[in-house]
Amino acid sequence: MRNRSHRGRVGPGPLAATAAALALVLAGCGSGDGGDDGGEFSGELTLLTPIYEGSDGQRLLEEEILPAFYEQYPDLKVSVDYTTYGNLNEKLTTAVASGLVPDLMMMGVGWVEAFAANGVLANLTELGVTTESLNEVYNPAIVQGGVVDGSVYALPVMLDTRFGCVRSDILADAGYDEPPSNLEELREYARELTVRNDDGTLERAGFDMLSMDLRQMYEVFLFANGGSLFTEDLSAPAFNSPEGVEALQFLVDLIHTDRVEDIGFSSTDAEVHPLLNGRAAMGVCHNNLWVSLQEAAPELADQIQPFLITGTQPGMFFGGTLVTVSANSDKQEAALALAQHLTSAEASLLANEQRGNVPARTDLLDSDYVQSNPLVQFAMENLQYAQREGGPPQWLEIRGDFAPAVEAALLGEKSAQQALDDLAAAATEAMSR
């Protein structure tokens, strides 16, 4: 609904009906005047972004990336609304509710489905962007993060990836030359590498799984164990399949049976990743662990070694930031031009470099930046294994319940089966709404 408070001032009326009418009117009005017939564009484009924040990001965008765009389109002006991921949803919500939607919106993997399914995003395939053309530049799995019902709605700028990492020096001390190659080895190494002092206090976790958001951590194991979040046709949850339950049970056992880490030993709020100060020998990590390492412990550069957590298949998780065009925009083609510029090799390389993230474009594997960042390089070399979150439009309603469910299992409040079944029931209900 557009605005009941507004109507409250203007005059009464049946709530939903007028709201819907208002929505149509506003959608028609758009956000400004002018229009263009392709070719030369002019006017102002608005961009809402959770990245490029802070002075560094802003400088990058406004002094390097956008000037290159203006060279091509001198009559366009881009007005940027900076936010952070922490408040992106509030910005998106108010924008969509008021009908004042920016021409371009950057959002995360998993957001696109809901926004596309409800007609907020422009169908880029109708503007000439096809999956086939994107598959030449990106890994198909990544392209799918912006595809809904066969049409492209979003272009990837950068990826956040999660995979296994070990401290090779700690492994070497224990006589292991290589990271574990399967889940059984992972369990065995982790048990071996766990250090407790005399009173049983954990001093070094054999395998750290608590420093990362529990949903994303679990998903790495879910994928590694051959499970998936939803059925192929996205009609029902699939994480409570035997593979999914087994993956969660594996994590529960790591904590309760093998005791390779204690609840509370680390958390997503931990200011230091335990791998960096030797408080963990192995763990699930994010590619920008490298940034923290460079800043705080550059001497460890040779000791942090990434690996693929492998069950029945290698598991890697990717999320990321994509750029979309508003369905409301009266300058969709100009907006698409900017979106393509932001995802171009040069611009996306700069953005990734600033944040220590993984470029989505395959052609950037050889860039100096990727070659100088072992974790990013590793992620890019193994992108064929990467799987993403999301799928159904209701994903945003489901994902928030994941962490409490995984946590309940890890705490022993529920069995792995029970936790995932309850979660699946909630997901099914959400998907039926």
């Binding site: 605005n3 001032r9 608005t46 802070g54 991921y85 100060n277 705080a296």
Partner: protein
């Protein structure tokens, strides 16, 4: 440890010396308790300040150091460079001053009326004001945003609020909606209630109008309440974050807390910078408190009347 609101006074004294000893012991005990409590309250801030001058390498250490091995004052310079803090600081200051001025004037007027003037429906109005505190920010924020966006005749809007952006990206949106809080109305009402009614009767005999009785007779008597409302309003809007972020799209209208959010990226919080920035943002508020608390001095209001 006992309460003592009255000035020191004579108890039925046994002997002069034991009395002195007792008073010294009482004072000493009082200071010990206060010092302990103050430290309890201060430890987190101490940690914040100490963290703000540590290097990332030192933050990595386990177990962590309490006292910095090396004082990296550079963190402050770097934190200030991470966002346009001069602009943000100025904006926060404008908004806070605007909110404070509006709130003190409008809320004290309303509080006075609710406390002392025999208007019909006073109780209903009072309950209404309290009830307006009971809906969480997150529920109100979208409707409030829509009111701002559809503000008629502003920002290219027509009389029905269509066609433009209303108050978005304006100082109006930053200052007006948050410029009055039910909290302040309620607080002023309670303070006006405690004053004696003899004053107004006398003032009426002297021929003072009702509004002047409010402004010149009663309001000067509640300076501590004014100081309280001013302090709390200023500080709330200083720390406000979400509303300024939502109703603006331009960076030159953003506020200091938005700048601090830059240090908390999704997967990587820059603790040393965040703490340096927060320390800097807190200093003006502490100074403000030290100024405001001077109004809380025993006898202040009484001397004002006599």
């Amino acid at each position: 440890m006992t309460a003592a609101t009255a000035p020191a006074n004579a108890a039925p004294a046994p002997s002069r010396e034991s009395l002195v000893v007792r008073r010294i012991l009482t004072k000493l005990g009082l200071h010990i308790v206060l010092l302990f409590s103050a430290l309890t309250m201060l430890v987190p801030f101490l940690w914040m300040v100490l963290t703000s001058v540590k290097s990332p390498t030192e933050l990595l250490q386990f177990p962590p150091t309490f006292w910095p091995e090396e004082w990296v004052w550079d963190n402050y310079a770097k934190a200030l460079d991470a966002a346009p803090f001069v602009t943000y600081f100025r904006n926060s200051l404008f908004i806070s001053i605007g909110h404070t001025a509006m709130n003190v004037v409008l809320a004290s007027m309303a509080g006075y009326a609710l406390a002392r003037l025999p208007i019909r429906g006073r109780e209903v109005a009072f309950i209404f004001i309290i009830a307006m505190m009971m809906i969480p920010t997150y529920t109100k924020i979208v409707p409030q945003f829509l009111i701002v966006k559809f503000m008629p005749l502003f920002g290219g809007n027509d009389i029905f609020g269509q066609g433009g952006s209303g108050w978005l990206n304006t100082w109006w949106a930053l200052i007006i909606p948050g410029g009055l809080t039910p909290f302040a109305i309620f607080l002023f009402r309670q303070f006006y209630l405690t004053l004696p009614s003899e004053l107004e009767e006398a003032a009426r005999i002297d021929g003072l109008g009702e509004v002047r009785i409010y402004a010149q007779v009663y309001t000067p008597l509640i300076k501590p309440a004014i100081a309280t409302v001013a302090l709390l309003t200023f500080q709330d809007s200083w720390n406000n974050f979400l509303w300024p972020l939502i109703v603006t799209t331009r960076d030159d209208l953003r506020v200091i807390q938005v700048g601090l959010a830059v240090f908390q990226q999704q997967e990587n919080t820059q603790w040393h910078y965040l703490m340096a920035g927060t320390t800097l943002a807190t200093v003006p508020m502490v100074l403000l408190f030290l100024v405001a608390q001077r109004y809380f001095i025993q006898g202040f209001t009484n001397t004002g009347i006599k």
